[in-house]
Symmetry: D2
Subunit: 272 residues, 4 copies
């Protein structure tokens, strides 16, 4: 689990690349051995390929290499996907491919203000905060305090907490904001809050919904159609990873075959 | 085709929503009738569902509705996908799903500085400029002046030209930058410039490549492996769109079955 | 359109390979120019690549080659897929990939007796008759006389009419057979006849259903579960065709993205 | 593992449905508990849901039901897929979906004579023998005696041994047959024997090849093009299984993402 830390944001010129106590590092040995750690003097990471003393990392920089007894370890600057791997848990269904497309499709940009419900593990929350920048804002609703505490902690690890507002509230009672740039829903009954999302959105702005079943797709899509959204799309992204070997390249044989569906539409101004 | 215009960036509070001459608008009638236009007094749009006088749009706001003789038209704030639809041409293979995943996987953020080659129609260029914000920078290389002129024009339409630097140069001679946050390649022989990309990248930063054939995947992946990249992935995204109807929901019957593959890896510091 | 003809069944030793008047031939020029014809003296086929006199085909054998003015034509023994291509029409949703899997999954064999409803264009009917052999039997129900007439005609072209029994009847009133080896359903409301299928089947035999929407999948699957079927599967087959070129192999860019879902289960003996 | 047994072929009228010692039965408890057994007096099957005495099965019929201490077991007539599940092993890559499409695409029929190489676990061999009927013949080549012994055993379990001829030979030296109705290849370097397959085939008959990598697809396809095959297709079948639940239907989350590619073409008579 991650611990609070100043994070990896650094401009191209003034970036301090020397790793210090408190920095977080992705230690990558191979695709099955990826570790997201916070550096602390005197601590160590034990793996079946050998151990790493954090003191040996301190003073190195991102991109550097360490020799273990039975492998090589690479010290990488954490990217969103590393964080995703670390967050993974049973309740997590949103994958990077989905989050990428949801954010892109919404056309939010640095400085946008968006609403999200529910918070869940905070993976979409953190991704949004990352892309919206310092001037952006993510307001995230959930009814479960424990989920929000975890997400809050994860966000603070990445020093993104100032871009996020956590609200412990059932959004079936409505959102507290008006004129937001996008609403993202990842919850069991999104059709129940389509109208609330409509009210919170700026005209022409996007509602983006993620659901795992086709029944939810149908209900949500039809409700959006009825409540004033236009240009509605229901889509699914299937990711195939390839195993590349000279003269023997092919897709991997076993993997994720389904995560969920993305429904998106834009608010039109209803004419009564 | 688009024309130069001040663009739709507006904060949540100070956004001027009244449409004026010079603004660009997505006119959405149905999935097959989507038009990206620049408002000009006295002009009109003719469709098989009726005509629209631009003078009738001026004074309305994004999200508003217009009645045509045989349909309803919605005035939407353009999103990246609308621009994509307008840019589409035979040489265009990068789809929104691909661009979304490429940008996300690179973990670039507002303020990042990235390199791209080739420029092509400028769709990835514009998308990057959008997400990197005012303080970000996209340096885009191409050997074809005509392509760059088109991309330059498209970028200026969206008022993103200040975030983009166009360079007319064969990158097999190397990039002029060092320490960039990501390199994106969409060109026929990316394996020839993997080493050049390595030199231009900040340690631990990502190289993201898009290619249409499996042979290119293999060559690029193996070259990246050889030249110091780690955590390399070769992936493909298949998008399925659904046709939603009450009690009769199903995927669309005909569509895009392939765009290309995405290969990505991170620069490790080579130990000689 | 096909015409009645003695067909291509011939054993490995006694097969008369010399093509005569009345034989049917697949004339294959390229993937977009495939013609299924019945040879008749004095007739001709006109294509944009040149014409073919049927008199020039008579006397040749399957596998032979003809030179046209602007292309080469191959004379092939018709296979089920050629017939499929010739039958194609708006109402046709069952593709060879689906029919192949449906027949295989049912584990029918030469000599089996099966029921099918509805007949449709007869493509599944003909495929079943082909694989069940001379001693097999396909009993096919439909409420539309015109569909059955077309299917009957198509079957007679392939000389398969003796293996097929056409019944013009609404199967919601029940099937007239008992103890059949498999039941195949390709109709709008299969869940309404699941019980009828159960009654017609031999214990342990398979019910195989094809439907285009996910709503139909759910209704059919649940009804099968309720009515005594076990080992029920709901599956979908996605076919990707590749464009192979030396050093530039990739999936085709545009194609069929959905045909339908296959639900299958086996009859258990209900214990009351 | 299976044991020699008289098999389940029975016509619709004269089928002896009472299960006896020596019969094989698929015992289906749930999707994860499927057992293919040969009945023998005094023996038993132990599962974590309870045990079954074979003496309790003898005297029942296919489709019947048995109560276990913690579940219900269904006694099913084995279908090809059950046999597939029992045969599964690391070297097995051909799945039912692939075998179904390969057999269908070849348009073989009861009575056809076909060649196959290599034999492997014998799953394609058995499937072919099943569909070709008593008058059909499968000649299967392999260089490994152990593989052929296993396949021979499996075939005899299903009483299909009289339809299959096993040949222990490296087919790079050529096939011993001429004029066969189809050739099926499932081997590492199929392009090396494309010419041999051509020589063995009847004009217009099909060569069907299965390979796991894209490199093999390219080599095989190009060699077939060069050696006189026409109407060549390279295809891949992706199977998605659905989890059906009332109001919550969706594809399974994890599964097989790749098995292999199927290349097929028909022999034209070369004109020198």
């Amino acid at each position: 689990m991650l611990i609070k830390v100043r994070f990896f944001k650094c401009g191209i010129l003034q970036c301090n690349v020397v790793l210090n106590e408190g920095d977080i590092v992705t230690i990558w040995i191979d695709p099955k051995r990826v570790f997201l750690v916070k550096l602390a003097k005197g601590k160590r990471l034990d793996t079946d390929k050998g151990y790493i003393l954090y003191d040996d990392i301190i003073g190195k920089e991102y991109g550097d290499v360490l020799k273990l007894s039975r492998a090589t370890a690479y010290l990488l600057r954490p990217i969103l996907e590393d964080i995703y791997l670390d967050l993974k848990r049973p309740s997590q269904v949103l994958y990077p491919k989905d989050v990428a497309y949801m954010i892109y499709s919404s056309s939010v940009e640095p400085g946008s203000v968006v609403i999200e419900a529910g918070t869940g593990s905070g993976f979409l929350t953190i991704s949004l905060a990352h892309f919206l920048g310092k001037e952006g804002k993510v307001i995230t609703y959930d009814v479960r305090r424990d989920m929000q505490e975890t997400a809050k902690f994860n966000a603070s690890v990445l020093n993104l907490q100032d871009r996020i507002e956590f609200k412990l509230k059932d959004i079936r009672e409505g959102f507290e904001e008006k004129g937001v740039d996008a609403v993202f829903l990842d919850m069991p009954s999104p059709w129940e809050v389509v109208e609330k999302a409509y009210e919170a959105l700026k005209p022409s702005a996007a509602l983006i919904v993620f659901v795992p079943t086709v029944n939810q797709v149908e209900k949500t899509y039809l409700e959006m159609e009825k409540k004033g959204f236009v240009e509605i799309h229901a889509e699914e992204l299937i990711l195939r990873e390839y195993k590349v070997k000279e003269g023997a390249t092919r897709p991997k044989n076993v993997g994720i075959t389904h995560t969920g569906y993305i429904i998106r539409g834009r608010k039109s101004i209803k004419t009564s």
